[in-house]
């Protein structure tokens, strides 16, 4: 392979990885970044989205986009129920929220195993392969990354231009002040948790055609999601994008040179170094410089 082809190949992998990281992290970034809840059941929200998508695809013969939307709604409704029952008692209790969501994660994984067995029938990956300039990649991964970028845009629009978004940002900055100005912060927290879970379910639905539908499918995403969110810092949109881009670039490089496992190691090492150098995340650094 020539140097040019190698670089193109690397770029195509970076592009695919970028989509995966954004999708895995976005819902978590909303919940962690805006609410300060460490949701260790995040992977299981992805799992629920993927299961709901696969089930509506097989049982209801729903077309893929509709099935993915059902996945988002299923995960969102689950998030809403858990927020009302459990999570709302744990705001401002970072570690307790972690232990509680770890408990939720155990329950969800085992429940999926009991209800659907060790493996649910998978879904075919649509669109087939894609050839651009001699580089072969999967068309679906390109669609996935485009969707991920579009979702980032949607989240931006929601937080920037809707009434909910304005109140949500006010609540996250200073909830006492927001309350005194008449914002029903309880509903804002509830809505934000639903929104984050919904986005996470959509991500699970998008992953569904690319993974085996097993109860533990979410655990494969959770570390990458956390690392992306923490490295990104406080700004949900810019942080998620910049950190997903840099981490996927470095991870793809490591993976291409030394194999997938080294790629993961390189990603984690990079995250450690970035946190050490920029302890408040990339976006805070960018904001201070500008």
């Amino acid at each position: 392979m020539t140097i040019g082809a190698t670089v193109l190949d690397w770029l195509s992998i970076v592009f695919a990885n970028l989509g995966v990281l954004i999708l895995a992290a976005l819902g978590l970034a909303i919940i962690f970044g805006m609410m300060g809840i460490i949701n260790l059941a995040h992977g299981e929200f992805i799992m629920v989205g993927a299961y709901a998508t696969a089930i509506s695809y097989h049982e209801l013969s729903a077309p893929l986009p509709a099935a993915i939307l059902i996945g988002g709604v299923a995960s969102g409704v689950l998030g809403l129920a858990l927020e009302r029952l459990i999570i709302r008692h744990l705001y401002e209790r970072l570690i307790d929220s972690m232990v509680a969501t770890w408990g939720i994660s155990l329950i969800l994984i085992q429940a999926a195993l009991l209800v659907f067995g060790a493996r649910y029938p998978g879904m075919p990956t649509p669109f087939g392969p894609l050839q651009i300039a001699g580089v072969s990649t999967s068309m679906y991964s390109v669609v996935m990354t485009m969707t991920a970028l579009a979702l980032l845009g949607v989240v931006y629009l929601v937080f920037q231009y809707t009434d909910y978004g304005l109140k949500a940002r006010a609540t996250m900055q200073n909830d006492d002040m927001a309350r005194s100005l008449g914002v029903d912060t309880d509903h804002i927290y509830m809505g934000t948790f639903f929104f984050g879970s919904f986005i996470t379910g959509i991500a699970g639905g998008l992953f569904a055609p690319t993974v085996s539908i097993v109860p533990t499918l979410g655990t494969g995403f959770i570390i990458e999601a956390f690392v992306t969110v923490i490295v990104g810092g406080t700004n949900v949109i810019v942080g998620t994008f910049v950190s997903a881009l840099s981490l996927s670039a470095i991870r793809s490089l490591g993976a291409q040179l030394f194999g997938t496992l080294v790629g993961r190691v390189v990603l984690l090492v990079t995250a450690i170094v970035i946190i050490r150098l920029l302890p408040q995340g990339i976006t805070t650094y960018l904001e201070e410089r500008s």
Binding site: I86, D96, A100, L106, Q110, V265, R276
Partner: protein
């Protein structure tokens, strides 16, 4: 057993030593203070009674139960290593399993290579404690002198243990054999010797029931040492760092150095636990450093009560016992029950079991629980 010598009428003044047991009191004095639950002759009497039960346990049960119970006790070392750094110093480490795993692997590598030469595992034991401590010191220097704190410490320590898991998973094959010890990749390292103390033909190997007694003795010694530590002047500095970093620094303490020291100590305790784990099972494998195991000590000490050594011990033993029991009764529902217990504890006993029991005892009876002070 000072409780027997005590006149029951004056029991309520448990905090003031009476002349009758002044000497016994001065014996336990260094182990008592505001940072531990259980500061009274009654507590020590109960402690001695439970210790006697634990020591007698192998006489009344079969070898399999002894083996399983030894395993429960070994997990307590992992919990205590987290308790000193998180419960007492306020630094939430999510990666104590990295020291546990390193301790086990180092013990294995050194032990397998030296057992035929020296006849014992003395050096392997020391290496399995001190090298993880050195690793913790380096990692701690990297974090605390870079002013990394809060959730960022959690992510760095978690990433560290996951990196170690990934690296050790990659060690399958001939090129990853250190001397005679094959690291074995994802399947793990086998043939790790039992703890063998002494030299040549006089060396004693600890297996089965004798390993049980060794673990119990080491655990009791560690518990007493940690009680001494957290109630000493240094322990006050640890707790002060947890409560208010800025104020502690204002008093002239270098909190970076305090954090580094305690983190190093927690690495040593974690390493010791890993040594015992690898020596008991003669085996260690990479998933011990993975996400699932990394979360376990956090859960144990959250349930037991993280700012008490007793809570770490009782939380760990209780949850391991329950897990084992539930898996025996119905393996399908055991993890669901476990998840529900975690939720219930976090929602209803947010301080953990031991502090909750202590507080409600003191509120209802107006006397100190196990003689702990009321402050």
């Amino acid at each position: 057993m000072s409780g027997n010598e005590r006149d029951p009428v004056i029991d309520e003044t448990a905090d003031q030593p009476s002349p009758a047991d002044g000497r016994l009191q001065s014996l336990v004095d260094p182990f008592e203070g505001p940072h531990t639950v259980g500061n009274s002759p009654k507590f020590w009497a109960g402690f001695a009674a439970i210790l006697l039960l634990v020591l007698a346990y192998p006489l009344f049960t079969n070898e399999y139960r002894v083996l399983v119970t030894t395993g429960f006790f070994i997990w307590i070392f992992l919990a205590l290593s987290l308790s000193v750094i998180w419960g007492f110093t306020g630094i939430f480490s999510f990666g104590q399993t990295s020291f546990f795993g390193l301790g086990g692997y180092i013990f294995g590598v050194v032990g397998i290579n030296l057992i035929d030469v020296t006849g014992g595992t003395n050096l392997a034991l020391l290496a399995g404690i001190f090298l993880p401590a050195a690793f913790a010191a380096i990692l701690g220097y990297f974090m605390f002198y870079g002013r990394v704190s809060g959730v960022y410490v959690a992510i760095i320590t978690l990433a560290t243990t996951l990196i170690l898991e990934l690296l050790f998973s990659r060690t399958a094959g001939q090129q990853y054999t250190i001397g005679e010890a094959a690291l074995g990749g994802y399947n793990g390292m086998t043939g790790i010797p039992s703890i063998t103390l002494g030299f040549g033909s006089t060396a004693v190997a600890f297996e089965g029931v004798s390993m049980y007694y060794l673990v119990v003795v080491v655990l009791v010694v560690l518990y007493l040492c940690l009680r001494y530590l957290v109630n000493s002047d240094y322990g006050h500095v640890m707790v002060a760092t947890r409560e208010d970093e800025d104020r502690t620094e204002m008093f002239g303490y270098d909190i970076r150095f305090v954090k580094l020291q305690v983190f190093t100590l927690s690495g040593a305790i974690g390493g010791l636990g890993g040594v015992l784990y690898a020596a008991q099972g003669n085996f260690i494998s990479p998933p011990i450093m993975g996400l699932a195991f990394a979360a376990l000590p956090v859960i144990w000490i959250t349930v037991g009560g993280r700012a008490t050594l007793l809570g770490a011990i009782i939380g760990t033993f209780g949850l391991r016992y329950l897990d084992d029991y539930l898996a025996g009764v119905s393996s399908e529902f055991s993890t669901i029950v476990m998840g529900l217990i975690l939720l219930a504890v976090v929602l209803f006993f947010p301080l953990g079991i031991i502090p909750t029991v202590k507080n409600s005892w003191e509120n209802s009876f107006d006397i100190p629980f196990l003689g702990g002070d009321n402050s």
